[in-house]
């Protein structure tokens, strides 16, 4: 939407760094070669070398690909079977391609670690910044005619306390002691017009509790729940 957008700046940097490392190694290999490979063939060999059989590792709520078998290197080996000199000039680049898988693996790990340091995942201000144009919309009929108190939100952004998400309790409370379909939603407001901190690339759905003192942040990975002392909404009645 806006130009600043919401890109994961850490990821962009590590991907560029990763490719730079590959280019650097390719250059070193090229320099050392006595019989040189044609330059345009080098990226091709590296790309084929990238092909690999990998296993999926699950860490930090994410899935990583850990390369095991260098399929691309084997393919090239068979292609150049019987052409020993040609294989000699290609071999290092093919293995570099396979090695690139580990460089990407490492860069993903670095991305996550650095991201955690720069954008602490338990701070509300990482998920909510640019509060100036924020407002709320009603997403359930139990929401009342209220508006967001931006000053109150700004003041309490850093002091709100994180609490556990009691999902089953909230769910059951909603259905207890209510006749038929006269139910209230615990989080009937959605905060709009905010963005997560610049460069974090975090996507969020932000809900406000019916008493105006709770914020539920929903990201693709998890949910966080914060409570404030004073109400974040005002008006009505």
């Amino acid at each position: 939407m806006e130009i600043s957008g919401n890109y994961n700046i850490i990821e962009i940097i590590t991907v560029i760094l990763g490719w730079s490392v590959i280019v650097f190694f390719a250059y070193r290999i090229y320099q050392k070669q006595i019989v040189k490979l044609k330059v345009w063939k080098i990226p091709l060999i590296i790309l084929v070398g990238l092909i690999s059989f990998s296993i999926n590792l699950s860490m930090f709520d994410l899935i990583f690909k850990l390369p095991i078998l260098p399929l691309g290197v084997w393919i090239l080996y068979f292609v150049f079977k019987g052409k020993a000199e040609k294989w000699q000039t290609c071999r290092s680049f093919a293995w570099l391609g396979f090695g690139a898988n580990f460089i990407f693996f490492a860069s993903t790990l670095i991305t996550i670690l650095v991201h955690h340091v720069i954008y602490p995942k338990d701070e509300l201000s990482v998920y909510i910044s640019n509060v100036e144009n924020a407002s709320i919309i009603n997403i359930h009929p139990s929401a009342k005619d209220r508006s967001l108190n931006i000053d109150s939100l700004l003041k309490q952004l850093d002091t709100m306390s994180q609490e556990a998400v009691y999902s089953d309790q909230w769910y059951q409370e909603t259905y207890m002691n209510t006749e038929s379909n006269k139910r209230n939603e615990r989080f009937p407001y959605q905060v709009i017009g905010t963005s997560s901190r610049w460069g974090s690339g975090l996507q969020t759905l932000i809900y406000i509790e019916d008493d105006g003192k709770g914020i539920l942040v929903s990201t693709p990975e998890k949910q966080l729940y914060f409570r404030s002392k004073a109400s974040l909404i005002e008006g009505g009645e």
């Binding site: 997403i139 359930h140 556990a164 379909n181 209230n184 989080f187 539920l216 998890k222």
Partner: protein, 239 residues
Amino acid sequence: MMKKKLWSLGIFIILLSIIVYWFYFSKPTSFPTNEQLVAEMNRVFPEATASIIQDTIPIDERHVLAPFISKGDDYGLSYWVWKNHKWKVASIDTKGKPMLWKLNKSDPSSFYFVWNIDPKDQISSIHFYLIRDRGYQITRGIQHYNPKVQMGKRVSLQEKSYGLMQLSGTWVTFMNAYNKVESAKQYPERNMFFGWIPYDQKDMGIFPENSVNGASYSNGEIGLEYLMIVDKGQIEIPR
């Protein structure tokens, strides 16, 4: 010699771009007459037995909705799209139960509810809903709670049997945020849906027998979503 070759190459490229522009990007020509619409519909989909075009409603430059009545007195909908330098009928429904027409699938602000309800059904208003069901999950100790989303919009059918309505701003705002979070998930949930409830004069829910279970045609290039009739008991009325 070389110069001559360059010249002909240049002319070729210019001609090609003119043709490509004309074919894909040029402004639509005037919309066909009602007689032409009826003839085209009955040609691509004889079951339509279209007879009277009730109206032609342009949604934007390239999309037109044309509600029609068939020879058997059914109320249907036809969807017209300007594509490849031609007005094409993208879909035909012989019965006009509400549908959601997505002009651009990735942009909820281009979504329209469309309908053509048979007057025999005596429906005086329709409630449209966007719903995401309440739910909770606990996986390996990590808790997740989905608040219920229920947004409604009432449309009165007093004057015409047909009509269309763009998704309202708050619906679009919610959907954009929802879609961004869902598409970044490793296992997207897609638990949001659209529905409708028909009401008669006395505000009682009724079943629109004459407006459902029609035959339909599609050229496969149109974003049309079926809308469920929501059970009234599923709708939460806090006050």
